[in-house]
């Protein structure tokens, strides 16, 4: 079995999209890990009402956990200078105003950039819509981190999503365990591949026909 990128590497690559002065909302799962790799000067926002908070607490640091300092996924963080606390009306004004970059998980992304990430379809009851729909519509840039295929090897980057949608035509960049793909008006552009993977091998596991970037290269973590 060929080696795919692990979660840490995907998180590292996603964090590369951020720069000093950006305000970012990180979703649950791999996006949360991006916090470990962001450059200086990036402010974190969580939809339950905090901006500019500090790093997430690791397991060994639980004794520092405060009941009042959690993110939307229930993870504990530490306060930081310059932090702001506010209510959800303020929070969602931030989220819907195009001021944030959002890094979200994905179950499926379609060729046109539709995102499905709250319900795995079928008989599934309930689901985790959360703030994802608001972030997907409102953010100035939507980055999705995800696995390229299902456990049975079926593509998760598809022509049309079969799972219930989070939002239509919202995704800008997909970072999977095999590739970095940009969603454009002309179609999905394959920009980077995991080490040891060819464009053809990645295409074989992707439903839409990928446009190959002129400077297609192995995933760039520098």
């Amino acid at each position: 079995m060929k080696q795919r990128l692990d979660r840490e590497v995907i998180a590292m690559r996603a964090a590369k999209e951020l720069k000093n002065g950006d305000h970012v909302n990180l979703g649950i799962g791999i996006p949360n890990f991006c916090a470990l790799y962001v450059p200086e000067g990036v402010l974190f926002q969580t939809e339950n009402g905090a901006l500019g908070y500090g790093s997430l607490l690791m397991e060994e640091e639980l004794d520092q956990a405060e009941q009042c300092y959690t993110d939307a996924g229930g993870r504990f963080w530490r306060p930081a200078p310059g932090m702001a606390i506010f209510d959800v009306m303020t929070s969602f004004a931030m989220i819907r105003s195009g001021r944030l970059i959002t890094i979200l998980g994905g179950l499926q992304v379609s060729e046109k950039g539709d995102l499905a990430n709250w319900n795995a379809g079928g008989e599934a009851l309930g689901g985790t819509i959360g703030g994802g729909m608001d972030l997907a519509v409102g953010a100035r840039k939507v980055i999705v981190t995800m696995e390229h295929t299902t456990k049975d090897g079926k593509p998760k980057i598809v022509k049309r999503c079969s799972y219930p949608l989070t939002a239509k035509q919202c995704v800008d960049l997909v970072i999977s365990d095999l590739a970095v793909i940009q969603v454009t008006g002309a179609g999905m552009v394959l920009k980077e591949v995991a080490p040891g993977w060819s464009a053809e091998e990645v295409q074989a596991l992707t439903e839409p026909v990928l446009i190959l970037a002129e400077d297609l290269k192995e995933i760039d973590l520098v």
């Binding site: 009941q67 009042c68 959690t70 209510d87 819509i129 239509k168």
Partner: protein, 256 residues
Amino acid sequence: MGSKVFAGFDEAVADIQNGASIAVECWGVTAMAQNLVAAVKRKGVKELTIITHNFIPLVFFEEEEVTNLTHLLPQLKKIISPVVGLQRLGAGAFIKEFVDKGLEVEMTSHGTLASRLYAGAADLGGFYNPVGVGTILEEGKEKRVIDGREYIFEKPIKPDYAFIRAHKADKLGNLVYRGVYRADQPIMAMAARTTISEVDEIVEIGEIDPEHVVTPSVFVDRIVKVPEGGLGSVARFREMIGKLAEIELLRKLLFK
């Protein structure tokens, strides 16, 4: 004006009838009005509508340690929430037996819920929402194109009651929160007809700086103090954190 301070939680919820709608925040149960929820469970009123942010079973703790909204399931007619269940815990499978018996679930998004509660608070007829276009949130609702962009018409939510977990109240009913306790509670407190707050501390009038008041007293009807070491108290939280380290599945959910 009579005192807003109630000695106990059962008295504070005494007038809640079958069929009532209650807004309760639940972004992580640590910021939830657990004592008021436990009192409603004891009271046994039925056919309730719960408006919340997260409706997720807490399989790791006993009910006496942490009271959760899911403990009210047999008493519910309807849930309005952006999150029902968690993928890693089998999603919404835990509500299936209740859905089969008639429980209604209305999914929404966090931002949509915040705006619907604000619309309720401000007596608006509704608003046009760009979020949810092309998703299940559209179902059964009016859509409109305004300046070339599609919107869904969302109606206000006006709960009968709001259960608010604040940090400090003065005897007038001004509320101060702590950290992310705040979240959607100020909006819930304004949207509800009757707002009941449980707090760590009740102080004398004048002891809260007006600059720090987040929920002005006019919106708050009843105040009850959380007992030392009681449900949702900081002391109880510290005990839970101690246990959390031992619960493999919970550590996985939070740290992996």
